[in-house]
């Protein structure tokens, strides 16, 4: 009935061994897991630090890829195939030669401003490696040299020679620049000028040559002036500032417009302030604000008075130009034979 003490100790040892073995294994597992967690955390930290290291050292592969995509978007805009936004599904996407996936967007902010956004995603296994760039741009019809077109032909055979012609066939905006030359507006052209000095002439096809049919309705070229606009006729077409019988010319109420030269347009609406020096010919309608001065406009033929009253004025001095007659002229006069 009573058991031996040795038997008790063996039984106690057998009973305690499984529990002890379990705790040791559990402790070993916990230690292994902690060691692995520390290693993984360090690895993750090192990965996240890669971009910081690249940034600190001045270059990153994804940053360069995003710059490359920004150039691609600009090139698309230059050639007229403008990308849209990611939301509309009209964005640009590509893969660089080094494997980065890039996406470019262009959003219209205002009539003269575009916002460009690009994003580059690294091709490494770490998906957090990406770069974004945002830029603002003023869009012009093209950055190609505008001096290539030198003639403006007419079906009658007349050709107008011109050394500096810019052809605008869509929306174009110039802000804060000084421009020169001839600007030919095609159908549907929308030329926006803001704080611009233009020395030259704005033309349409119909203005160059009457044989070109005038644009009608919404297809008429439109010139819109904002801020300041100084339009001075150039040397290509002296005294002609605008020659577009099928064109609409608009200056907003806050604009300051100074036009020096002949203006021909289908509609003229100048609602700001300023002055228009030169004849204005319109076909459809004409509107000038009260603060727009038009020297010489509205005066009828003046009649000469029978008697000129000098009044208080007096002639104080007279001067004549002293033109030197060349010797050859004098010799020619002296040797001339006068018929009786």
């Amino acid at each position: 009935m009573t058991s031996h003490p040795e038997t008790h100790r063996r039984a106690a040892t057998r009973a305690a061994r499984p529990a002890e073995a379990g705790w040791v294994l559990a402790a070993a597992l916990i230690l292994a897991t902690m060691a692995t967690a520390v290693t993984v955390t360090y690895a993750r930290h090192a990965l996240l630090a890669k971009h910081s290291l690249q940034f600190g050292k001045g270059a990153s592969e994804v940053d360069e890829a995003s710059r490359s995509e920004l150039e691609r978007v600009r090139e698309l805009m230059r050639i007229g195939d403008k990308p849209g936004t990611l939301a509309t599904g009209t964005h640009d996407s590509a893969v660089t030669a080094t494997g980065e996936a890039v996406v470019g967007e262009r959003e219209v902010v205002s009539h003269g401003k575009r916002e460009l956004r690009v994003q580059a995603q690294g091709n490494s296994t770490n998906s957090t490696e990406e770069a974004r760039l945002k830029a603002s741009s003023t869009v012009v019809p093209g950055n190609k040299s505008v001096g290539e077109r030198t003639t403006l032909p007419c079906s009658t055979g007349d050709i107008m020679l011109a050394g500096h012609v810019t052809i605008i066939s869509g929306p174009a905006s110039y802000v804060g620049v000084e421009m020169a030359g001839l600007y030919l507006l095609e159908a549907d052209a929308e030329l926006t000028l803001q704080d611009v000095i233009l020395k030259g002439t704005i033309l349409t096809r119909n203005g160059i040559c009457p044989d070109n049919l005038p644009q009608a309705g919404s297809h008429r070229p439109v010139v819109r002036a904002y801020g300041g606009l100084k339009l001075i006729s150039g040397t290509e077409l002296p005294d002609v500032a605008v020659c577009g019988p099928d064109m609409v010319f608009e200056a907003e109420a806050n604009s300051r417009v100074d036009v020096q030269g002949f203006v021909s347009a289908d509609e003229v609406h100048v609602n700001g302030r300023g002055s228009v020096h030169g004849m204005v010919v319109h076909n459809e309608s004409e509107e000038f604000g009260s603060k727009v001065r038009r020297p010489g406009h509205g005066r009828g033929p003046q009649s000469w008075p029978d008697v000129i009253s000098a009044g208080a004025e007096e002639v104080s001095s007279l001067s004549f130009p002293a033109t030197t007659v060349p010797d050859s002229t004098i010799s020619a006069m002296e040797s001339a034979v006068i018929d009786a």
Binding site: L47, G58, E64, E75
Partner: protein, 171 residues
């Protein structure tokens, strides 16, 4: 004998069974953590080699050429007076040039990498597939200009870097 052994047999089986289950659990945990950490560990190794083997230096040297290219005009007779050395006055004259020792954007010698070289190529590629080089005189589709700089450390190619370019705006 038989009466004494019979009560101990279930306990030994239980002990052996528990140890096997614990071993399986340990294998499961360790293998899971190893697999989960594999990409991070490999990424760390990759990052180390990127800096240690010159990948970042290669990018910096290529970027010097890119910065110079951005300032170069695309055609002769341009108003821009920028040039890169005595014989490069336009972007396309960079094509085929090898600079050893490497040059900075200001055409100064990069003295910290005297044994390295920069090989430049300027080519026209298709906009739709930028891996395809096209002839701009005959290609009718949309085109893109690509600047590629291959950087070598001695004879060993360390990195090849490319940028797309657009013609500078002349206002």
């Amino acid at each position: 004998m038989t009466a004494r052994r019979s009560p101990r047999t279930p306990g030994r089986r239980a002990q052996l069974g528990t140890s096997f289950a614990e071993l399986m659990l340990a294998v499961l945990i360790i293998s899971t953590t190893v697999v989960a950490s594999h990409s991070s560990l490999m990424g760390t190794v990759s990052t180390y080699h990127y800096f240690a083997d010159g990948g970042h230096d290669s990018l910096l040297l290529a970027k010097e050429i890119h910065e110079a290219a951005l300032l170069l005009p695309w055609e002769h007779g341009s108003e821009s007076e920028a040039s890169f050395g005595p014989d490069v006055h336009t972007l396309f004259e960079l094509d085929g040039k090898v600079y050893s020792p490497p040059r900075s954007a200001g055409y100064d010698i990069v003295t910290s990498h005297l044994g390295w070289s920069q090989t430049v190529s300027v080519r026209t590629v298709s906009m739709n597939d930028t891996t395809v080089e096209v002839d701009p005189s005959t290609f009718t589709g949309q085109m893109l200009t690509e600047l590629t700089v291959a950087v070598k450390d001695g004879e060993k190619l360390v990195g090849t870097h490319s940028w797309w370019l657009t013609e500078p705006t002349s206002e």
